[in-house]
């Protein structure tokens, strides 16, 4: 019984975290170009001089 008192808030918090993450992703444009994002990982950014921040931020970084 005391397990429930711990597990239910736990489940709800995890769910809320997921919801929050989704809202963030939506706001920062992660869903704008789903097929493109899958392909961009194959691009070499060397020629462009990857100076501005990590490469992994590239796909969604634009407002």
């Amino acid at each position: 019984m005391t397990g429930l008192a711990f597990l239910i808030p736990c489940a709800l918090l995890l769910g809320l975290a997921g919801l929050g993450a989704f809202f963030w992703a939506l706001r920062s444009g992660q869903f704008e170009d789903l097929d493109g994002a899958a392909l961009r990982i194959l691009l070499d950014d060397d020629e462009e001089g990857a100076g501005d921040g990590g490469d992994d931020r590239e796909p969604g970084a634009r407002p």
């Binding site: 709800l12 704008e32 170009d33 392909l39 691009l43």
Partner: protein
């Protein structure tokens, strides 16, 4: 002037281009790098999903040069107009957030409900009901807003719509569940209420993705008139006037390459005009003193002095805008399939729920139980499956069409396309490519090709461009050229190494051609010193796949006809080749009249056209398609766009639309069959929260699964 000076850094202009040819990561990189290297371009971003590139650039860089830069990277590009409506985008965003909240709530509430169904009782059940309520009530308050506001709006005007039974059902379910939780009763419908919202929002969201984007053909049209002209004052000096400052009887000077800003009559000079915008005709039209010229056409060869006759709202281009506007008003009366179904459905649902309440009260069941049953009826009959039936099918079909190069621009376009029973084609630019292509192989030696390409690239004349395109397609690289000079109205000359070369009018190049009997072919000539002059003949050719497309349309029971503004002779030649009936020599207004006439006889016309002159007809027709090479106006007026040169997508789209509507009808049948089974159970009071949850999810999943069969609809 002063405005420009006080303004801070000018906002960058943004242009969108359709680039249908991209298909891999390398393509993305090539296009983006190619564009970012171009001076004046601030940023370029490819959206691979929509096969579009978004370029932000300084004002002074024009669309044509960006397009040329994309072409240089090896892709064909067409400017994209009618950017998706920001209001519709915001609406989708709002719905997807509500959907996420409803999804989160329904999953967690369902988790608790399953425990209740599997035997929790007493204090445990009350605790779980209490927790469910704690999750469900805020979620309903947030995710239910789209329905509540719409229902409230309808009720205030004394009408009812689909959202009224939904809102009443959800609110009643919540209210009764709160009561049940308070008195420790067994029947809390929190799970039903949030799951209902989840499915309905899914349907609503998909629908908003397909919602009409603005058909703003008219503002696209008015952008096409030149934005000003140099006016010659009585004392002989020149002053630049903006488009709205021009007045009839002024004299305007139009340099070669400029777009005319007003209608008028040529006072002096001779040149040829590119009238493609107005008539869709690819052939430059020669003009001289006394000729009538129209706003929106481009002066190709030499400077002209034009006495202005009509400006602004009186120009031919503004007439066309008014025709489009008038045609658009009659079209907005179309009622979509889902809305037609909703009109019948909503009163039936209200009636049934009320009947259940009154019936059980009369049978002596007491208020509590009667309300419980009435709520169960409302939840069971709520149009989950019905709300999903149409949007899911259309979204899946639109995705399938997009993968085969057909863009659906309007939410109801697929429905209307499926109803079409007659196809009308424009000729130039629609049945034909709308641009000259070489007649047969070019009679040039290898080094002559390189030289001809170098000269052709220096000119913006339609034939030069056609030659350059053909040579580039063969993989020819331009030769080094010096002393390039363009003689207005004659051609281009330059030095290839030490050899002078000329590309232009046959007589200027030194070639005597007999006035050819075929008025549809165009001849230009090329000569390098010391070699014979070569005649290069061009003509506008029929799109590939045209014959096959006509065959498929005939099989589908859709007769096709040609409706063209071109000379009847030229139209008949093509009509003969394709075996179609044809009408030639029609103005924009005549085309609309022809379509109206057919519509009055009950015909539902699919219009396929591209030019500005087709704008009114595209808007007036029941449904319309345009190639992606169409004018801005054609693109914005049409309901669907097809990419690439082939005409086959027209037939494919019709067949896919019909298949989509077949699936939609199946989905309706499924949803109604489910109701026929479930409603009597609800009326008898046998529907517990468990049954309601199962029935609702089951029917929705069935409908979605059926719609997914459309994934291959456009093959």
């Amino acid at each position: 002037m002063s405005e420009a000076a006080t303004a801070p850094a000018p906002a960058p202009a943004v242009s969108l281009f359709n680039v249908p040819g991209m298909h891999c990561a390398g393509c993305i990189a090539r296009i983006e790098r190619g564009l970012r290297d171009m001076p004046g371009v601030l940023d370029a971003r490819v959206n691979f999903t929509s096969k579009r590139v978004r370029v932000s650039h300084r004002e002074e860089v024009d669309g044509d040069s960006i397009r040329a830069a994309i072409r240089k990277t090896g892709f064909s590009a067409e400017p994209f107009v009618g950017e998706s409506d920001p209001a519709a985008m915001l609406e989708s965003r709002r719905l997807v957030r509500a959907l996420a909240v409803a999804g989160f709530a329904s999953m967690n509430v369902m988790l608790l409900s399953v425990s209740v169904w599997s035997g929790a009782d007493g204090a445990m059940r009350q605790l779980f009901h209490f927790l469910s309520g704690l999750i469900a009530l805020p979620a309903v308050a947030y995710a239910g807003r789209p329905f509540f506001t719409s229902a409230w709006g309808a009720l205030r005007q004394g009408r009812t719509n689909m959202d009224v039974p939904i809102s009443v059902g959800v609110l009643m379910a919540c209210a009764i569940s709160v009561y049940e939780t308070a008195v420790d009763g067994p029947n809390a419908y929190f799970d039903g209420a949030v799951t209902l919202l989840f499915f309905l929002l899914a349907g609503r969201f998909l629908d908003s993705v397909m919602r009409a984007r603005s058909h703003d053909a008219i503002s696209a049209l008015m952008r096409q008139a030149g934005n000003g002209a140099a006016v010659i004052l009585p004392d002989g000096s020149h002053v630049w006037h903006r488009g709205d400052q021009l007045m009839p009887d002024m004299l305007m000077l139009v340099a070669a390459g400029d777009r005319l800003a007003a209608d008028g009559i040529v006072e002096s000079g001779s040149s040829s005009l590119d009238r493609a915008l107005i008539t869709g005709e690819s052939r430059p039209e020669p003009v001289s003193v006394g000729s009538r010229v129209l706003a929106g056409t481009i002066n190709l060869d030499g400077p002209l002095t034009v006495r202005i006759e009509a400006v602004g709202d009186d120009t031919v281009i503004a007439d066309i805008a008014r025709l489009i506007e008038a045609a658009g008003q009659s079209k907005s009366r179309y009622v979509r399939v889902a809305d037609r179904a909703a009109r019948l459905y909503a009163p039936a649902v209200h009636g049934l729920a009320l009947l259940a309440l009154v019936g059980w009260l009369l049978a002596g069941a007491g208020w509590h139980q009667s309300i419980l049953i009435a709520v169960a009826v409302l939840i069971i009959t709520c149009p989950c499956a019905l709300g999903l039936a149409v949007p899911v099918s259309q979204v899946v079909a639109a995705g399938a069409l997009m993968r085969s190069g057909i863009l659906v621009k309007d939410g109801s376009a697929i429905e209307r396309l499926a109803e079409a029973d007659l196809v009308l084609f424009d000729k130039t630019g629609t049945l034909t490519l709308g641009r000259p292509v070489p007649l047969g192989p070019l009679p040039l030696a290898g080094d002559e090709k390189a030289a001809a390409l170098a000269l052709a690239l220096a000119s913006r004349h339609p034939l030069s461009r056609a030659l350059a395109r053909a040579l580039e397609a063969e993989g020819v690289a331009p030769a080094e050229v010096s002393e390039l000079a363009e003689e207005p109205g004659l051609g281009v000359s330059g030095m290839i190494g030490r050899t002078p070369a000329r590309l232009g009018r046959p007589a200027w190049v030194g070639l005597r051609v007999a006035e050819s009997g075929d008025p549809d072919s165009l001849v230009t000539a090329f000569r390098m010193d010391g070699r014979p002059a070569r005649a290069l003949a061009f003509s506008d050719s029929i799109r590939p796949g045209a014959a096959e497309a006509m065959g498929l349309l005939r099989e589908a029971g859709l007769p096709a006809r040609i409706l063209s503004g071109d000379r009847p002779g030229a139209v008949e030649a093509i009509a003969g080749t394709l075996g179609l009936e044809a009408l030639g020599g029609l103005g924009p207004g005549d085309k609309v009249a022809a379509i109206r006439h057919l519509a009055d006889q009950g015909g539902k016309v699919l219009m396929v056209g591209d030019g500005l002159n087709d704008g009114p007809a595209l808007t007036a027709a029941h449904v319309s398609m345009a190639p992606s090479s169409a004018s801005d106006v054609g693109q914005s007026a049409a309901d669907l766009l097809f990419l690439g040169d082939s005409l086959l997508p027209v037939a494919k789209a019709v067949i896919a639309a019909r298949r989509t509507m077949r699936i939609v009808r199946q989905n309706f049948a499924l949803a109604i069959a489910y109701n026929i089974l479930a409603v009597p159970l609800a009326l008898m009071g046998l529907v517990t929260p468990l049954v309601a949850a199962l029935a609702m999810s089951g029917s929705s999943i069935l409908v979605v699964a059926n719609a997914l069969r459309l994934r291959s609809a456009a093959r």
